[in-house]
């Protein structure tokens, strides 16, 4: 295992070192010590390495991730795994706002709670939150799946498109054009797989599914307010 200590090294050197890893690297496991809330840790990775950040991170950790697995043993600041393309990001603690924003692929797992705007504008990413999520989550969510084992805050899925939103607990309110949808067998299969991959022991049958009512897909003056 390679260890990098941010109390003595620089963010630039760390990210440059991680970016230099390619498909053939034999340095596949990395440990980052003393993150102390630094921003942009392990962003832009593009190789099948596993990086464990020992502590909590600032903004945009694991941003635009491709292929890599990034574990954060503490909590993550705003925009963790934003625009992720592939790979996996796991946060042992809580995630601040915009977790997984605009993500195109991969899996984001938050073992604690996620704050507001979780999965905002998501475009194919899968997100599993063991706890609760805050208000305006999945706003304008385009595609992908969001699994919430706890409760959802206000205005879930406002103006969403084709993303699937699964919530086990209560939903404080649904956003514009978001409605409860029928849970069909294929959805239970998707849920089961995501719960397994997200290391969550909840049962798929305990969830409800939400998604777009598709009334905002074409402009209609009666929808304006």
């Amino acid at each position: 295992m390679q260890t990098y200590d941010l109390s003595t090294g620089s963010l630039r050197e760390l990210n440059a070192t991680l970016h230099a890893q390619n498909e053939a690297t034999n340095q596949t496991t990395w440990e980052i010590m003393n993150p102390k809330g630094a921003h942009a840790i392990a962003c832009g990775l593009d190789s099948p390495i596993e990086v464990t950040v020992r502590g909590s991170t600032g903004y945009y950790s694991a941003g635009m991730n491709q292929q890599a697995t990034v574990n954060i043993t503490g909590s993550a600041g705003p925009g963790v795994a934003e625009n992720m393309m592939s790979g996996k990001v796991v946060i042992d603690g809580d995630a601040s706002q915009y977790a997984g924003a605009t993500g195109h692929g991969g899996l984001l797992v938050v073992k604690g709670n996620a704050s507001s705007r979780c999965g905002i504008s998501m475009k194919g990413i899968n997100i599993v939150v063991h706890g609760n999520i805050g208000h305006m989550s999945a706003f304008m969510a385009q595609s992908g799946n969001m699994v919430v084992c706890g409760d959802a805050g206000e205005a879930l899925g406002d103006s969403c498109y084709e993303a699937r939103l699964f919530v086990r607990g209560s939903v404080k309110s649904l956003g514009a054009d978001c409605e409860e949808k029928e849970m069909r067998p294929e959805h239970l299969e998707i849920l089961r797989a995501l719960l397994t991959e997200g290391e969550c022991d909840a049962k798929p049958e305990e969830f409800k599914r939400y998604g777009s009512a598709r009334n905002l897909y074409n402009f209609n003056i009666d929808n304006a307010y």
Partner: protein, 446 residues
């Protein structure tokens, strides 16, 4: 003047200046449809412009340079403050961001061809980077927009610069629109949306708000791209002094400042005509912000919004811009609104020069459309040639003026070379009203 039946003279029917025929027709349209008018382009209303400024030229105290013979350079470097690979342009006229989606693939290709041949950059838009565009653009600026349609780190690393779009002159505070007629299979797939829906782009970024966040966002983008490429921040001409100050403090390498004549693919007409400031009014506050920070000429200022001629370029640069960007003018150079399609414009209820329903995807010139049949009318090679010619003419015009003012580089033009024809232009450009040594607010603050 006519008489009525009893022979009493009748007054001539008088149209209201307030309720003009234009206004009345819009009231009737709104009453019939119940929805606001959506259109493309920039502000059409009459505004103070660069036409209200004049160059003084040379005199006994200033000697001119010989036209065509003495050197007058036009090159500009953008982004050297933080980027290891700044952009070097032969001419200070760039192509503004326009999306694949709003424009056809061949139109984007033509913009790349023309810009590359002229030695300048072109810019992606709200819809991601297409291989055609990257392939035909020697220098491509990749826009980082609130929607993040098509955004991915591979394309980010292929870009020669990144432009974080905060606002657009046509609609400061507004997001984008692309109506269903233009959401073809390819556009839908690039944007990860269902085909045929009316697509709306967010008006603000999903993962940052405010200047402190922006600084961290810029850090992230620099880390992902290895601090190689310049990062521009594009703002609408809403609060140019403060927006420029905040963008510089957040770490921008260049500011793109867009006035209300700057075009959009589609938004509400009320937005285009009533929100924002004229291009002429925004440049001096932005330059002052850079000067106050000691960053003028270190952080480059790229001005856009209604730039049409070499004279406009020269005036923008004399007032302190490092470069300009053109959008609408570039489309016209490609063939947009050409009178040769007049019969077809008439069928659409409009006329050449006034056509602005770009969002409907029925462009007779085949530029602002995704219709395969209409697209065939547009030849990207010929379009690229026309754009190159136009950029060349603008550059020659700007050089002509600069030489007449005794300047051996366009960057050496200065406010002292200008006077204003109107009080408004004098106040906005902060150059003397012609025949005086005074402008309104000369001792005031912005």
């Amino acid at each position: 003047m006519s008489n009525d039946d009893s022979g009493i003279p009748r007054t001539t029917p008088r149209q209201s200046a307030t309720f003009s025929q234009d206004v009345n027709s819009e009231i009737r349209r709104a009453a019939a449809t119940g929805i606001y008018d959506i259109r493309g382009g920039g502000a059409k209303r009459k505004l103070p412009t660069f036409d209200d400024l004049l160059f003084l030229g040379a005199s006994i105290s200033r000697y001119p340079l010989e036209g065509y013979r003495e050197k007058c350079d036009t090159n500009v470097s953008i982004g050297g403050l933080n980027a290891s690979n700044p952009i070097h342009l032969d001419i200070p006229i760039t192509i503004a961001g326009m999306s694949f989606g709003a424009l056809s693939g061949p139109a984007k290709e033509a913009l790349g061809r023309g810009a590359s041949e002229a030695g300048t950059s072109t810019t992606t838009g709200d819809g991601g980077m297409t291989p055609e565009e990257r392939g035909h653009s020697s220098k491509l600026v990749y826009q980082y927009l609130p929607s993040r349609y098509g955004m991915n780190p591979d394309d980010l690393r292929k870009a020669d610069a990144i432009e974080i779009v905060v606002g657009q002159g046509a609609k400061p505070g507004g997001g984008g629109m692309l109506l269903g007629q233009k959401i073809s299979d390819r556009v839908a797939s690039m944007r990860n949306l269902p085909k045929g829906i009316d697509q709306r782009s967010a008006c603000r970024h999903p993962d940052w708000t405010g200047p402190d966040d922006l600084e961290i966002k810029i850090l992230e983008l620099r880390e992902i791209t290895g601090w190689k490429v310049p990062i521009y921040v594009k703002v609408a001409g809403a609060r140019p002094y403060y927006d420029t100050t905040l963008a510089v403090k957040a770490g921008a390498d260049a500011i793109v400042l867009d006035g209300m004549q700057g075009g959009t693919a589609a938004t509400q007409d009320v937005f285009i005509e009533h929100v924002g400031q004229p291009t002429l009014a925004i440049i001096r506050p932005a330059v002052k912000a850079l000067q106050d920070l000691g960053m003028h000429r270190k952080v480059q200022l790229i001005l856009s919004g209604g730039i049409r001629t070499g004279a406009d370029v020269a005036k923008a640069m004399a007032l302190g811009a490092d470069a300009v960007a053109i959008g609408t003018a570039a489309l016209i150079a490609l063939g947009d609104n050409d009178p040769k399609w007049e019969a077809e414009y008439n069928k659409l209820g409009t006329t050449a020069g006034a056509y602005d329903d770009w969002h409907e995807g029925q462009d007779p010139a085949g530029i602002t459309t995704q219709d395969p049949e209409l697209m065939k009318r547009f030849d990207p090679i010929e379009g690229g040639r026309r754009l190159r010619n136009y950029l060349k003419v603008m550059t020659l015009e700007a050089q002509t003026i600069a030489r007449a003012c005794g300047k051996n580089h366009l960057h050496n033009l200065e406010p002292e070379d200008l006077v204003a024809l109107t009080m408004e232009a004098a106040a906005m450009a902060q150059v003397p009203l012609a025949g005086t040594d005074w402008w309104p607010g000369k001792t005031g603050l912005f």
